[in-house]
Amino acid sequence: MEIVKKIVAFISSMRAGLFLLAAIGITSAIGSYFLPNTFYRSPTFQLLLVLLLINMAFCTSQQLLKTVYRATNGRKAGRPSGVSALRRYGLILLHAGIVFVLIGGAINSFNGHSEKVPIIEGEELEITRVIPEAKPFVLRVNEFKIEFNEDASPSQYISNVSIIEDGKVVRDYSISVNNPLVHEGIKVYQSSFGYLIDVETIVENGSPERKLLQEESIINVQGTDKAVLVYRYIPDFDPARGMQTKSYRPDNPVIIYSIYEKGSLVNVGYAAFGETVEVAENAFVTFHGVKPYTGLIIKRDPGLGVAAVGGIMLMLGACLALMFKTKASEQKD
């Protein structure tokens, strides 16, 4: 029993808490440089966070019990009340906030789900295919568009979507950056975008072939030993800048392509939409245009509510502790 008591006392001690905070600070500093993508998911770092959670939960509940005890037996103990009591509540709130944030994060890492999904304009996504726990609905991307400033820089990325339940549209929404869709505990964010290229190949005596291809795809031209690498879509082409688009506004859209013969490069060029490129004698390629797709992050975080409460407690606690701190000029040392 004594040993258990001692262990609990150590785990809940401020010394252990400070040690853990320092360890988290130092290891995350090293991790941010050497392993920026993987370190924070490593078991060692997660263990530090769990230990901090245990330490702070113990420490905070002890403080809370003490404060409750003082409040109920306050007069007898002759404790100061008022300002210093408010400061005390602030500090407890601040510590409890950290506990809540850590619990929220832990819930998310066990039960949360977040995935980036590309969806082509006009296509639908069954939400349960991404997040099996979700209440089923279908997300249809009606349109993806980029709005521009006068200087042709993007001012907003927008995905117009419909939510379909049992075959009926129940809601339309414009998802944009800083403005996610929230539906039945699922959040959908605008994250990225891209284009599929509409390519047609025509050879004499053969039937034309038309496909939607991703950038950097290769098509073999039937009946020839030529292949075309559909390299990249440039929305605002300027020969002086080459592969670097002038802006994302489609002011001068072209497709950059290269032609290969038996695996070796013979030509690199660019073509406007609708322009026909002769690949070989009587073999042609036309780029008809592009079809945008939107990159949406689809997320379910069951710990978000707990973490949000923790965040509010942190802010409130910090302000209370600060406001009711005795003034420097009044402090005696």
Partner: protein
């Protein structure tokens, strides 16, 4: 006035440097103190004009890019110091704080000169009502830590603890504001990026900064680490602040790449 924004910045740097030099002079005369104080106030006024010029240039509250942040960061550092000097009647830290102010402001022409005249509209990720509160709280936090570090440096050199209660009070303001900065940033990140915490380098280093000041408070109130060691901690904390702001932007890449 917008055409002279660079000149305003140079003038403010100049005034802060001169103020620092005068503060550093060994004389203890009342006149010297007054001149130093008024040079610092002059720098602050020119610094304010530079912020107004930048606001007129872009037609919004200038709180988005690195140069805009630096204008505010310096402005608040000097303002907080002047408030401290007048209120506490301690004058010793004017030299280091004005010197820090000059260095901070000098980082604009040295590191982010183009940003000062940049009139490009805000990128979509920055178009959020959270921008103002997130950045203003960071300005107050960083500025408070700068002043505390300046006072701590003087205390260390003089081997004194007479201003300890004041540094503690100033750091308390900085720490509360840093807490708000981080939480407001997390709320915003949840809206914009879909995650309230991504271990992005800026987030990680802001947390490390927050941790060092949290450790400072615990050691201070336990009375373990007062005096010299507390002052060293406050200077180390400010070095972390600078790394979080400048080092992360220029050495590590991440989501916070707006500069």
């Amino acid at each position: 006035m917008t055409a002279y924004i660079y000149e305003l910045v140079y003038l403010a740097i100049f005034l802060y440097i001169i103020a620092a030099i005068v503060y550093f002079l060994p004389s203890k005369s009342e006149l010297k103190q007054r001149i130093a104080l008024w040079l610092s106030i002059g720098g602050l006024l020119i610094n304010s004009l530079a912020i107004i010029a930048r606001a007129l240039l872009v037609g919004r509250l200038p709180l988005a890019n690195g140069a805009e942040f630096m204008l505010w960061f310096t402005w608040f550092t000097i303002l907080a110091y002047l408030f401290y000097e007048i209120k506490s009647k301690n004058k010793g830290a004017g030299g280091p704080v004005n010197f820090i102010g000059a260095l901070l402001l000098a980082s604009i022409p040295l590191l982010m000169s183009r940003q000062l005249g940049d009139v490009a509209p805000l990128m979509p990720a920055l178009k959020s009502p959270w921008l103002t509160s997130h950045v203003l709280t960071a300005v107050i936090a960083y500025g408070s830590f700068a002043v505390a570090a300046g006072i701590a440096a003087v205390q260390l050199i003089k081997n004194s603890t007479s201003a300890e209660v004041w540094t503690n009070r100033i750091v308390a303001v900085g720490f509360a504001m840093m807490t708000l900065t981080i939480v407001l940033g997390a709320i915003w990140a949840e809206q914009a990026w879909g995650r309230y915490w991504s271990w992005d380098p800026k987030e990680t280093w802001a947390l490390i900064t927050w941790i060092i000041y949290a450790i400072y408070f615990h050691l201070y109130y336990r009375r373990d680490w007062k005096g010299r060691r507390a002052n060293v901690l406050l200077i180390a904390g400010f070095v972390l602040v600078l790394f979080t702001f400048l080092g992360v932007s220029y050495l590590l890449s991440g989501l916070h790449s707006y500069a």
